[in-house]
Symmetry: C2
Subunit: 294 residues, 2 copies
């Protein structure tokens, strides 16, 4: 047992999704597909110095910020005093799944720092359930636990949802214009977006490639009525330059693979697909404590 643990969780751009609410937060979630990013969150958990009454507070890039699901994670792992410090280059509310990433990183970190001895699936379930309860997301956590280009075949935590993936590792470009409220969209009528998301998923499964993910995500944003003016303009500019781009759900963010945003004259952030899911950082010392099992 150590007093401090660190985890990295990739950011996650959702290209398209369908919403599947359920009274059981483990079974609730979304289906869809997206991109796990090498830009993510570094989460550090320390023992015993969180004293604020707001159990969702973390220190994010130096500021005290509430991240909804963190309260549920601290609660589920019986660590109300866990201090959670986050460093990330990703903006909040712009479609990068930062709340889910922080929730999952906090779960991994608390498990290690507090010696909770939970399995990886347990920790993913805890973070997913906390995210659904907080209303900040439906499918980022399970995607961020997988890495790569995750396809969420079923909604829910690892006990409920199956995942697949697109076997590719493209370079990723993105530009963020501002934020969109995930809570506002998810608490409204999701009939139209869910129908569009189901169509996109069926089409992607027939041809699970990276270019197809962008094209189907582009169609989804329009059919779901979620496309912002600034993303629409950027997508048009990229298409005019011979590339393709789509919107990150849910944020005022445009993303593309390869150099498609650069080629259209944008100055995007650049990263790559992160092949792994969220992981604990290797400790500096050996971890072996011999155990008797005779």
């Amino acid at each position: 047992m150590t007093d401090e643990a660190r985890a990295f969780v990739p950011g996650h751009l959702t290209g398209f999704f369908s919403a599947h609410p359920n009274a059981n937060s483990s079974a609730a979630g979304s289906r869809g597909a997206g991109v796990a990013l090498s830009h993510g969150v570094d989460v550090r958990v320390r023992h015993g110095s969180h004293t604020d009454a707001d159990s969702s507070l973390v220190a994010l890039n130096g500021d005290a910020v509430p991240i909804g699901p963190v309260g549920g994670v601290r609660d589920a792992l019986d660590a109300p005093d866990a201090a959670v410090t986050v460093e990330t280059p990703l903006p909040l509310g712009a479609g990068f799944g930062v709340s889910g990433a922080v929730a999952l990183g906090a779960a991994y970190g608390i498990n290690a720092a507090y010696d909770r001895r939970r399995s990886a699936n347990d920790l993913v379930s805890i973070a997913h359930g906390a995210e659904v309860e907080a209303g900040t997301g439906l499918g980022d956590v399970v995607a961020q636990a997988r890495g790569g280009l995750p396809i969420r075949l079923d909604p829910g935590d690892p006990d409920h949802g199956r995942l697949d993936g697109i076997p590719a590792a493209p370079r990723v470009e993105y530009v963020t214009f501002g934020s969109v409220s995930t809570e506002a969209v998810l608490s409204g009528d999701t009939t139209r977006l869910t129908a569009a998301g189901e169509r996109a998923l069926a089409d992607l499964r027939r041809e699970p490639t990276a270019p197809r993910l962008v094209a189907l995500s582009r169609r989804f944003a329009r059919q779901a009525g979620l496309l912002t003016d600034r993303v629409a303009d950027a997508v048009e500019a990229v298409r005019d330059a011979g590339g393709d781009a789509a919107m990150a759900m849910l944020g005022d963010t445009v993303f593309a693979f390869g150099t498609d945003l650069s080629d259209a004259g944008y100055d995007p952030e650049v990263c790559v697909v992160h092949p792994a899911g969220g992981t604990l950082h290797a400790p500096k010392q050996g971890t072996s404590t011999p155990q008797s099992v005779e």
Copy 2:
């Protein structure tokens, strides 16, 4: 579509397992737990230059070597002429899952080089089925597709088997004394090893930690009657030095976490847990080819 594609697949040490044969190779496999290694195989697939009648042949570290499941992978992806080149620091037949890693890397590489548009799960299923048919392994492929410290809850490919994991990322040390024939063990009476493997799995699920994995793997090797003399000596030396170690299934190989083999005076190979499963290497160029989905 490119003419060449490259993939990396981690090596995989199995600590303990139970064997679950099935006439359906997708459902056949093993349950158990192990360690995905940052030492793995780099696989390069090129179009159209494999002309040998032996469809299992690959170029491994410069030598033409048959890797059983590669024939099945070439066949399933309709690429009999795919040239497969492998570079790896890992020895064959010593418990590192090299055959499974090459099979999975070939599946990823052929899918990209031949534009086969299969999903990640499809490729894992193909490699797993080919490995089971070839008799070279039962559970390495699904573990190597996950990365980390995989716990195989059910036997079989991604449509059949669920996975979990130990949320840890220890440093890994190993020493190889020689090889053990996986085919010989798996084709013999597996009753005793399967009973020992089921016990170890139940115990690990109650406490999924890295030290517990080593302790239960150590117990398994003895109970299953698979412990070699040289591994037994090494385990004893490590235990005498205050550490813990176990045997890699199936090879004459001892492994430990942290610095436990070094501390006992060995000069081990050193790597870390590989957090990701097998992945295609990012292409040097952008991959985006705009598609119409209107």
